[in-house]
Symmetry: C2
Subunit: 256 residues, 2 copies
């Protein structure tokens, strides 16, 4: 492990990481992602990821647990807290972060239980859905073009580490889903199939649509089944991440 | 209905609304809330609310549907789009908004199905939970001190209109929940009770805890039951709004 003390804002590595921390789709150019905080770094390590580079403050390296995390990288940059702050998207910046090289885009696994994201806009929703997918053991997430960038800093933060155990494929067209052999299921308020009463196929791919517009007609036409979540409260509708959690839960409940 | 054309940034009503749109807890001083956009205003109207004041752009009042919404208020301020923007918390400001007087704080209804929020921090989570509560017909939401302000602009936006059909009580201490006659239920990963296999009492009060710390020990001690949501994916955990949606869904499923 090589440790360098850095005091210049213009250090080339810091310039690169600053871009990654501020541009939602920056990782698409570099093939690497900046993650902030020991929680995310620990989650990545637990899933077998090795950071390419760790950036930490002097104070962080005084703590044994954080120092051990830093030492998992071949190279560590030690920076003043004020400089770390320039890499941070948080109001209370962390003291440690890492650059991780992303794996090459995976092919779609035809028979894997999946979640399909159709142009979801909100980073918090996307991150929460990745967490639910990971929690329920659904390891493949397929994002259609127009969905928030899956490895953007906001989605990674909302994902709380879920990213590192998932196979994520993004930038897909609806036609690319022909590679999936498992049936697609969408939620709809215009269906007679009640989620809890229909026998859900397993494995399946749950399709979650745009926050305002829902699932596109082209994608809806590919769905083998639509199901409704009974909402006795009336005309209100569920947040898409809430709906996703319920569908994934129900799939699991029926299997158990 | 009285219509005034306003061009001054310093108009007293606009000064008040600007504060309401930028201060999360501003409504606690004025007893009124600023809501932005025709969707929220329509949702309020559908639940029988009457705006005290509507602010709209000239362009908005050219549209029949928006004009009809505006005319539900005793007073309408017509402002240039640039001035409306100063009241907006959105990247793409709406063209219409309203000030609504909040009802006096309700007493806790002892026998009502409820959701209890214990120091939830994230406005998006709180708003999503209010939506789920409304969708599943759980009309009483009780927030303990330290929870994000329920009527803050961010929570109202995330709630998508759910607020107007709910009875919201906030600023509570754990001891105040003694007024509830229905049993409290919390989720926990340290329990042998599996959510889908335990007979849930109905009505009940679902307790949702702080994003990092979970439910406080004092509140946990008041719970009649703790249940676990099986998460076969491993160590990952669900976002609190996802967990709330699942619990409310399961309560409803068991009733049906």
């Amino acid at each position: 492990m090589k440790i360098d003390a850095i005091t210049s804002r213009d250090n080339p590595a810091l310039l690169r990481l600053r871009k990654l921390s501020s541009e939602p789709g920056g990782y698409r150019k570099t093939g690497s992602v900046w993650i902030e905080g020991d929680h995310l770094l620990r989650a990545a390590r637990q899933r077998g990821w090795t950071p390419a580079l760790v950036v930490a403050t002097e104070a962080a390296l005084q703590e044994a647990a954080l120092r051990a995390l830093a030492e998992s990288a071949p190279r560590v940059l030690v920076v003043p807290a004020a400089l770390f702050k320039t890499l941070s998207g948080l109001e209370s910046p962390a003291q440690i972060g890492a650059e991780l090289a992303l794996p090459a885009a995976a092919a779609i696994a035809a028979n894997a239980a999946s979640v399909v994201l159709d142009r979801l806009q909100d980073a918090g929703n996307v991150g929460a859905i990745l967490r639910s997918a990971a929690a329920f053991g659904v390891r493949q997430v397929l994002a259609l073009k127009g969905t928030a960038a899956l490895w953007s800093p906001k989605v990674v933060r909302a994902g709380q580490g879920a990213h590192f155990g998932l196979s994520l494929v993004e930038g897909l067209a609806a036609d690319d889903l022909a590679a999936l052999a498992v049936p697609l299921i969408a939620t709809s308020s215009h269906t007679e199939h009640v989620l809890s009463r229909v026998a859900l196929p397993s494995p399946c791919a749950w399709v979650m649509g745009h926050e305002g517009q829902g699932v596109s007609p082209a994608l809806m036409a590919r769905c083998a089944l639509t199901v409704g979540i009974p909402q006795p409260g009336g005309e209100e509708s569920l947040n898409v991440a809430a709906a996703a959690a319920i569908c994934l839960y129900e799939s699991e409940r029926q299997k158990a």
